[in-house]
């Protein structure tokens, strides 16, 4: 294969057919260019997705109670499940090593008023850990802390939008905002990369709201993060264990999907990975279809070349070239053309992506780039394409009779 004689021959044929080689090589280069652009786009989408999900801790799990759909453990179907503070303690105790942060959530909505300004906002009453789980960014002041929860303090952490709406140019910190006519002291302001709506939210200590709404221990949902070192399998295993445990505790049939909802971000990631894998597959398939034009082109040019070189091939055979040696030569030449033109397309796409890529920074699409895997895939496709393109011409060449060497035409 790495024989000087072989390469000399390949270069000679390419040299004598420069334009033809260029034109057919172009179609292959173009196909690879498209492949790389498509794969980079998929990559950009993947980055976009990942970026969006990164807003929340990616190792988080949300548990919501529901209504049972099956009779179980002596209870009828249709029973509403209610989480209490005990549930949080129970989970903490059951998974002391797995749990990183855990917080209950109590949902409410409130009409907020400061001086003449009013607005309607959703309230999330939480434990202090909630900040880490939601990755809430405090820009001023602080988040809800343990003391607030113990004292059932009437304090509020307001979103940037809330601050803008109600306080206009005033500094909200330390001011009192009334939520449904109860005064809450503003202790912090937060922002959220995720979206503006999240900034129209108000956080308060969970115990405060449990007291306001009937002095209960009720919790609307539980969020937690697990050991960030877990891989996907471990994460899914953990959320399964958690689900089983919670279902047992609340006497819900193990297969009842409605009784309790455990929402693991890892699963979403799993889905995204398989989604982008499908997209990658589609990109490769599309490219291969485009490549067929190039394969036919190269096959065509080589059938031509071999026709022109019939006599030379005949002479070689008369001198003792075996058919397999001739076939190898042709296939190698074909792979060479496809590989060179393909890599030109690859480099071209890479340069364009490097220049244009950084300008694409939207939520759903960012940092489209060529990865090593793309290069490897492209190389494999090119070699396969080269072999396919060389197949028919090689057979033609192998069928050349050495007798043509003797005929003087």
């Amino acid at each position: 294969m790495f024989d000087r004689d072989v390469w000399q021959e390949i270069f000679n044929t390419l040299k004598t057919n420069k334009l033809r080689t260029f034109l057919t090589g172009f179609s292959v280069g173009w196909a690879i260019f498209i492949l790389v652009m498509l794969l980079a786009s998929v990559n950009g989408m993947q980055n976009g997705f990942t970026g969006q999900f990164n807003d929340d801790a990616t190792n988080s799990i949300f548990i919501r109670p529901g209504t049972t759909s099956e009779a179980y453990g002596g209870f009828e179907a249709g029973r509403r499940i209610q989480f209490k503070n005990d549930d949080i303690e129970y989970i903490k105790k059951s998974f002391p090593d797995e749990i990183e942060y855990i917080s209950g959530r109590y949902f409410a909505s409130a009409t907020a008023r400061y001086k003449a300004e009013t607005g309607s906002y959703s309230i999330q009453a939480t434990h202090p850990d909630h900040q880490a789980i939601e990755k809430t960014l405090i820009t001023e002041g602080r988040y809800v802390n343990e003391a607030d929860v113990i004292n059932k303090a009437k304090v509020a952490v307001i979103g940037r939008k809330v601050a803008e709406d109600l306080f206009q140019k005033e500094d909200p910190l330390g001011q009192f905002v009334t939520l449904n006519n109860l005064p809450f002291r503003v202790i912090g302001i937060f922002t959220d990369d995720g979206d503006d709506n999240a900034e129209r939210r108000i956080y308060a200590p969970i115990s405060t709201y449990q007291q306001i709404y009937g002095n209960t221990n009720n919790v609307n949902s539980i969020s937690l993060t697990y050991n960030p070192n877990f891989d996907l399998t471990e994460a899914l295993e953990f959320s399964n264990k958690l689900e089983i445990l919670m279902k047992r505790r609340h006497k819900i049939a193990p297969e009842d999907q409605a009784g309790i909802g455990v929402w693991n971000y890892a699963e979403a990631f799993d889905n995204i990975s398989s989604f982008t894998a499908v997209l990658n597959g589609v990109a490769i398939a599309v490219t291969f279809l485009i490549l067929i034009a190039g394969i036919v082109g190269i096959g065509n040019i080589m059938v031509f070349t071999i026709k022109e070189r019939t006599k030379e091939i005949g002479v070689r055979k008369a001198l003792g070239a075996r058919p397999s040696q001739i076939v190898n030569l042709v296939i190698l030449e074909s792979i060479f053309i496809t590989a060179i033109s393909g890599f030109v397309g690859l480099i071209f796409a890479w340069v364009i992506l490097a220049l244009v890529g950084p300008n694409f920074q939207t939520d759903a699409f960012r940092d489209p780039s060529v990865e090593l895997s793309t290069v490897i895939i492209a190389t494999i496709i090119l070699i396969v394409a080269g072999v396919l393109a060389g197949l028919i011409p090689a057979m033609k060449a192998a069928n050349v009779k050495p007798i043509v060497a003797l005929s003087d035409k």
């Binding site: 000087r4 004689d5 000399q8 021959e9 000679n12 006599k311 030379e312 002479v315 070689r316 055979k317 008369a318 001198l319 003792g320 070239a321 075996r322 058919p323 397999s324 040696q325 192998a398 009779k401 050495p402 007798i403 060497a405 003797l406 003087d408």
Partner: protein, 233 residues
């Protein structure tokens, strides 16, 4: 060296069948220099094709250096050609983008001789045909006579049992023809077996034996007094 018994060959031309060789019998001993003569259509080219394993016979026997040549696969035929035969063509058939030395080394390449050894041998045979200084030249830079001498060096490089020359002087003027024949005679003097297909009387008489073909049969097979080409050079 070569033994042919009752060789028949016919070609299908549409519905007709053209009987080209109608029972050829002849023997060539080692070291002979045989001219095969005949007008066009006499079957001499077909005979050479069969001798060169470029074509198969319909019936009859062909034994080359004790090896029966029959029903060869392409690969086997290629191997035998490489091992047993050296070809000299009328139109030289050098590969135009290879230097003289590379052309001579080509049969050795197909014998998988290592590169260095190939080059040494190629130079040795170029020296023998008097073209060592031209080793790095391309065929396009040489005269017809020089090209044919390169082709002869190429035919000899693989050290074959038999050299087959198909109208080796057909494309050359008479002076260069004699030069080439002089070379062929000298190679024969060293003990090589050579078959020359020609239709030129003077060339045929520079061989040691003339086989005359007419309408697919041997009409005359005689040993002759060799005319040395040297005197004309």
């Amino acid at each position: 060296m070569i033994e042919i018994k009752d060789l028949h060959k016919s070609y299908k031309m549409g519905s007709n069948s053209l009987h080209v060789l109608k029972g050829i019998n002849f023997k060539v001993e080692e070291g002979e220099l045989v001219a095969i003569m005949g007008s066009s259509g006499s079957g001499k080219s077909t005979l050479l094709n069969i001798l060169g394993m470029l074509d198969g016979a319909d019936s009859g026997e062909y034994i080359l250096d004790g090896v029966p040549i029959k029903n060869l696969s392409e690969t086997k035929a290629a191997q035998y050609r490489n091992k047993f035969l050296g070809f000299i063509f009328q139109s030289f058939n050098l590969i135009n983008y290879k230097s003289a030395a590379e052309n001579v080394a080509l049969p050795l390449y197909y014998q998988k001789v290592p590169r260095k050894e190939r080059q040494e041998k190629a130079l040795k045979y170029l020296e023998r045909v008097g073209l060592k200084p031209w080793a790095e030249h391309l065929p396009s830079e040489m005269s017809g006579g020089q090209k044919q001498r390169v082709a002869i060096a190429r035919a000899m490089a693989a050290e074959p049992k038999v050299l087959l020359a198909d109208e080796p002087t057909g494309a050359l003027d008479s002076k260069t023809s004699y030069e080439v024949m002089d070379l062929i005679q000298k190679i024969n003097d060293d003990g090589n077996t050579i078959l020359v297909v020609t239709h030129e009387e003077d060339i045929a008489h520079m061989c040691k034996r003339i086989v005359h073909l007419k309408d697919g049969v041997i009409v005359e097979d005689k040993k002759i007094e060799q005319v040395r080409a040297e005197q004309y050079v």
